[in-house]
Symmetry: C2
Subunit: 318 residues, 2 copies
């Protein structure tokens, strides 16, 4: 009972801290952005007044016109002369959109206009999102050895103890990821996108590889972009590789947390200990189910007695 | 070697199929959206011409004006009279934005304007995204018993065999999730948002709970929204509950795939078999590392001999 009580206490603590964290974020964002927004709002207001003063357009006509312009803009159709040449739905751009759907990045710089497009987006993501996770997982499984297991083994052979070895390795891995997937791409984007600063580049890389995808910065959307299709394909490739590395880093953190006892402390182990029996055993005990074929080496992979785990996940189906 | 060869073949197949899937999506999106886009583009063009004809504004002045209007709009500042009253960065809206960051939904209907805001977004998400995952995982662990293990146990006691029991349970769970987290909220959104159809509501729920978050539909952004803050808080609560249920469904699918031998077939088990030894053992064998404390019941949770696993992940550090 003590363990169960502690686990609920931890959960309550988590949820409370989550709310506090959101409130804290809200306060900071509000204080950081409010002045910038007010300034921009004033500028736009002044601009509109000036435009009205220097022309014979009446307010209502302009409002009506702008409403339609902004609605079209929401769907990626710009009223501007330069921007109107390029379609958002040529093959490369459509593929870029499909890619942002299945990776759950979802910039939203272009969105489906038609009901058929929306319905197809749902279906497409329904299959595509789990499939992308599958492909990424398969890839991460393959690079786990050369990038994590082998280097840690090497550090270990060089005389480092297990824990320091993982810490040194993780620091190096993080450095590599930051350099290759944040700093270097940000430098490239600063060169290729005239309006982007270096911070904008890092911000884009981060927002993309966390799959947040705000869409305020999307590469290759300038009106006169050279080799647009090739550029978009490269960004897609970068995103795939980047997401793979993010998965790898997450998994390495998970392994480190296991080694350092953090998952046990937080009672949140997913692929490890207390949850291990839950994750490893099928939903129902197939001991008495003669029909269920044994795909696993039961004697080695299910060593835990149900009774040895005091948690909620022991169903007594027998 | 045979198994390794098959595993690489599978991976290559996955990646090839992934590219084909993206291409297929691109073709469908392109053919569905191109006509709608062309129509909208023509309308906007006609609108602009008509506006220019009925006023004494010259083309250059209008273009310059619209460029600034659209740029401001990108940052969530609308030039329209109605829209300009409300701030995107009051406390509730900021909290809503913080929530879309940490859940990786990222609608992008509002985005930070200032460099400080961008930098803080990176820091905030860096801590917030893993923390949110942690909270969601903790919550899912607690609802796993009443919503998955107990019902399956009940079905099993009612006489169903393990596999049919999981299939029946999963169908019921899916029905429940679709009704409570897609159909019902879509109906509510159709009532609350004047411009949304039922499909728009379902589309919004789906795009949000998959964390794609395109941001073409965001609740509570109408100019004269009643009880906006309360509405935004409710949507945040809905999203948290919805994400929790999506995690639960994913985990149930994973368990089903294990039971039905799918993960073994695809050699992609994460928390199961072939990878089990990799995920369970710490990055380095701590057998000889006297310093590494044993947080786990080694004798029960590490039953696999390294030699019994022919995969790449056995480091011979000893």
């Amino acid at each position: 009972m003590h363990s169960v009580g502690r686990s609920w206490l931890l959960l309550t603590g988590f949820v409370l801290f989550y709310v506090v964290y959101l409130l804290f974020g809200a306060l900071v964002f509000s204080s950081l952005e409010r002045p910038a927004e007010d300034k921009l709002r004033e500028d736009v207001e002044a601009l509109k007044l000036e435009f009205l003063n220097h022309s014979c357009v009446n307010v209502a006509a302009l409002e009506g016109f702008l409403l339609k312009v902004l609605t079209a803009n929401k769907y990626g159709v710009s009223v501007l002369k330069n921007a109107s040449v390029v379609s958002n739905w040529d093959l490369a751009s459509s593929m870029f959109f499909a890619n942002t759907l299945v990776t759950t990045v979802g910039y939203g710089h272009t969105t489906p206009l038609s009901d058929a497009g929306k319905a197809f987006s749902i279906l497409y993501a329904l299959i595509g999102v789990p499939f992308t996770m599958l492909v990424l997982t398969a890839c991460v499984q393959r690079i786990m050895h050369p990038l994590v297991l082998a280097p840690v083994g090497l550090l270990h052979r060089l005389g480092l103890r297990p824990r320091p070895a993982t810490v040194v390795h993780f620091t190096l891995l993080l450095l590599l990821v930051v350099l290759c997937f944040f700093v270097a791409p940000a430098a490239v984007f600063r060169e290729l996108e005239p309006s982007w600063s270096f911070l904008d580049g890092v911000y884009f890389c981060f927002i993309s590889l966390c799959t947040i995808g705000l869409g305020d910065f999307v590469p290759g959307t300038q009106p006169r972009q050279k080799y647009r299709s090739l550029y978009q394909l490269s960004v897609m490739f970068y995103m795939f590789m980047g997401l793979m590395m993010m998965y790898l880093v997450l998994r390495t953190i998970h392994k480190m947390a296991d080694l350092h006892g953090l998952t046990t402390f937080l009672q949140l182990p997913r692929c490890e200990d207390p949850d291990l029996d839950e994750d490893q055993k099928p939903i129902v005990e197939d001991g008495q189910g003669a029909q269920a074929p044994s795909f696993r080496t039961e004697e080695t992979s299910k060593p835990l007695e149900a009774a040895s785990q005091p948690s909620y996940n022991t169903i007594n189906t027998s």
